[in-house]
């Protein structure tokens, strides 16, 4: 589904990603772990097309298309979804406005009919139960006055409505208590299908108890220095990152 080859990216002239190679196939869940400042969120933002980052080398193919040539909005329409680490508040824009515009923009891009008000409402109500959000949220402004947990649940709710091919969850577990974490993780798990893929960016193993990854990668200093299966996450939880970093240094 997505092939990342030798990806280098800068912000303000500083290199953050220093040659990322990663392939995610449909039906797979990949976890990207690593200490703070290793470039995890940068990778998520670069895939989404944040303009603050400059890609200096490498390529990203998404279902065969050159992703780096597409605008952020067209990437979303192709099926990429980022659940933000810090979802922004947008006073004056209701969740309904956001979702309706987003959904119909994506449908239009794919040459599908736009949904009318009734169809939209039916869909949205169905998806709300997935993350246990109440309907009055629809009328509220996007994330305005939401608690941390509500913001994260709202991200997963949006994901449920937009049904992306590739979902990237950027530190979705940070700041969540155990109940909220379970709700969010259950939502994500229910959305999993053989046709879509998920990249979970996190630095704790905890979330991976609920969203079980097929592959775990350790990102350090802008590179993936180790990959493994779900047992790697447990090992990291147990022993920290130092041993992986030392191991990688020996090979370098």
């Amino acid at each position: 589904m997505i092939e990342i080859k030798n990806l280098h990216a800068n912000i303000d002239g500083r290199e953050i990603l220093k040659g990322i190679n990663l392939t995610v196939n449909k039906g797979e869940v990949h976890a990207i772990m690593g200490p703070n400042g290793s470039g995890k969120s940068t990778l998520a933002q670069v895939i989404t097309g944040r303009e603050d980052y400059e890609v200096t080398q490498g390529e990203v193919l998404f279902n065969g298309k050159n992703l780096l040539e597409l605008s952020t909005e067209d990437r979303a329409c192709e099926g990429i979804f980022l659940a933000f680490q810090y979802p922004v508040e947008i006073p004056g824009v209701s969740n309904t406005t956001l979702l309706k515009n987003a959904l119909n923009s994506i449908r239009k891009y794919r040459g599908e009919e736009e949904l009318d008000a009734m169809e939209f409402l039916t869909l949205v109500k169905k998806k709300m139960s997935l993350v246990e959000l109440s309907e009055d949220l629809l009328r509220r402004s996007v994330n305005e006055g939401f608690s941390g947990g509500e913001k994260k649940r709202n991200e997963i709710f949006q994901m449920a409505v937009l049904q992306p091919k590739l979902a990237i969850l950027d530190e979705t577990d940070s700041g969540l208590d155990i109940d909220a974490l379970r709700i969010v993780a259950n939502g994500v798990t229910k959305l999993k299908s053989p046709e879509n893929a998920t990249i979970v960016v996190t630095h704790y193993q905890r979330l991976l108890n609920y969203i079980v990854p097929d592959f775990v990668h350790v990102l350090y200093n802008g590179k993936i220095i180790k990959s493994g299966d779900k047992s790697l996450a447990l090992e990291l939880e147990d022993k920290g990152y130092d041993w992986v970093i030392e191991e990688a240094a020996e090979f370098a």
Binding site: T48, G49, R50, E51, S71, T72, E73, A76, C77, F81, L82, F84, P87, V88, I90, P91, G92, V93, T97, L98, L99, N101, A102, L103, S105, I106, Y109, S141, V142, Q158, L162
Partner: protein, 435 residues
């Protein structure tokens, strides 16, 4: 001769022709008000940027033009008019074209009890006492050359008198349409809202055609004890036009006045909004929105005079400026020595959509009482990058994403308008301008 004196000569000459069209009406006592006003006009000078009140507003482009008075009612496409009209079943509708009342487009049959609604020229004849008592009192022609000019040519416009205890449920829409043909129009409104009365009035100014025109407009409001008024003013004049307006509002005890001053059109627009609290416990909300593009220039000068104690004013003006357009906001709030327990809040917020757009904003509070709550603030910024990215990351195209954010920015100016149809139309006008 400078262009300013030339334009003045033109208007003075046209006043003579105007007088000739009045025939017998020249003998009415009202005509003396016009004659005094034209004399005042003749003795005053057009303002220049050297005047503090016009510091950022250069009216030379207006002064260099020639305008003739409109002498007849032209044909205007009904589709154009329909764009601005609300449902005639739910609104009382008056349409003026080039200043002339259009029976064809208006709907003023079967007025509700307690509502007197006339054109100004009819009111002069039918209600001379009321007109004499209130006309040109709130908005004085003494110091303002444009008000003097409007008063001199006062013949077209609307007279509303809501009688005591009458609550008029149907909103009144007054649409002034001008067909651009190098003409000037002087719409004049006198709105008298009696004790315990309630009314909603929408004034719309719109233009069509490629040439230019000059709308010089004055509205006077007298809002008596306990009266409640909701007033929306929509200015969507054609882009070659000039528009200068003064709205003057007198508020009596415990009255409540909400104003929504929405501006989309015009090449050069200057609005003066003056509110006086003549007695205590009155409230007013002054909301404003200006949306400019190209080389448009829109200037809003508001002044709130807290002359008496225990009144509340809440002012919110927002600007959205694109291309090389310019905006001016000047908001004066006077709190006089007697006006203890005044609450006065003022905000002006602007979004610049291009690097070349410019806004001059000047809040001006003069407070002479010591037990008051007053605040003011002004901001100028761009669209929030993170919000824009968020919307785009959800698949919304950039243009729509910007429009959504701009509409959100504007929404708190208009969201308290009680008339859904009016809010919908404003949303449509805003969308048309943004997309």
């Amino acid at each position: 001769m400078s262009s300013s004196t030339e334009l003045k000569e033109q208007f003075l000459k046209q006043f003579q022709s105007f007088e000739n069209t009045l025939n017998g009406e020249r003998e009415l006592p009202f005509h003396k008000i016009r004659k005094d006003a034209i004399e005042k006009f003749s003795s005053l000078n057009f303002p220049s940027v050297k005047d503090e009140e016009w510091k950022y507003t250069n009216i030379n482009p207006l002064l260099s033009k020639e305008f003739k008075s409109a002498d007849s009612i032209p044909e205007v496409y009904s589709e154009f008019i329909a764009k601005y009209l609300f449902d005639k079943k739910e609104f009382i509708t008056l349409v003026f074209i080039n200043g002339y009342f259009s029976k064809e487009f208006s709907e003023i049959d079967s007025l509700p009890k307690g509502l007197v609604l006339e054109t100004i020229s009819e009111a002069i004849k039918k209600h001379p006492k009321l007109v004499h008592n209130y006309f040109s009192k709130s908005a004085s022609a003494e110091k303002n050359i444009f008000t003097a000019l409007n008063t001199a040519f006062a013949d077209h416009g609307t007279f509303v008198h809501v009688e005591e205890n009458a609550a008029i449920e149907k909103p009144i829409q007054i649409l002034y349409v001008t067909k651009a043909d190098d003409i000037f129009v002087s719409p004049r409104n006198l709105f008298l809202i009696s004790k315990n009365a309630q009314v909603k009035i929408i004034e719309t100014y719109a233009g069509i055609g490629d040439k230019t025109y000059f709308t010089n407009q004055v509205t006077e409001f007298v809002v008596d004890q306990n009266a409640v008024v909701e007033h929306v003013r929509i200015q969507d004049e054609q882009l070659q036009s000039y528009h200068i307006s003064t709205m003057s509002v007198d508020l009596e005890k415990s009255s409540n006045f909400s104003s929504y001053n929405i501006n989309f059109g015009g090449s050069l627009v200057r609005n003066n909004v003056n509110v006086r609290f003549n007695d205590s416990f009155a409230e007013c909300r002054l909301n404003g929105l200006y949306v400019t593009e190209g080389t448009q220039f829109i200037d809003n000068h508001t002044a709130i005079d807290h002359a008496k104690a225990n009144c509340l004013s809440n002012e919110l003006y927002k600007g959205i400026l694109n291309d090389t357009s310019r905006g001016v906001f000047n908001g004066k709030v006077f709190v006089r020595q007697d006006a203890q327990k005044t609450n006065a809040y003022q905000q002006n917020k602007n979004i610049l959509l291009s690097n070349d757009a410019l806004v001059n904003t000047k809040p001006q509070l003069e407070i002479f009482a010591d037990d008051v709550k007053c605040s003011h603030g002004a901001t100028v910024g761009q669209l929030d990058k993170d919000q824009l990215f968020y919307l785009k990351a959800r698949g919304i195209q950039e243009k729509e994403a910007k429009a959504i954010l701009i509409y959100a920015f504007a929404s708190d100016v208009v969201h308290s308008i009680s008339m859904l149809q009016v809010r919908d139309q404003l949303e449509a006008l805003l969308a048309k301008k943004l997309l």
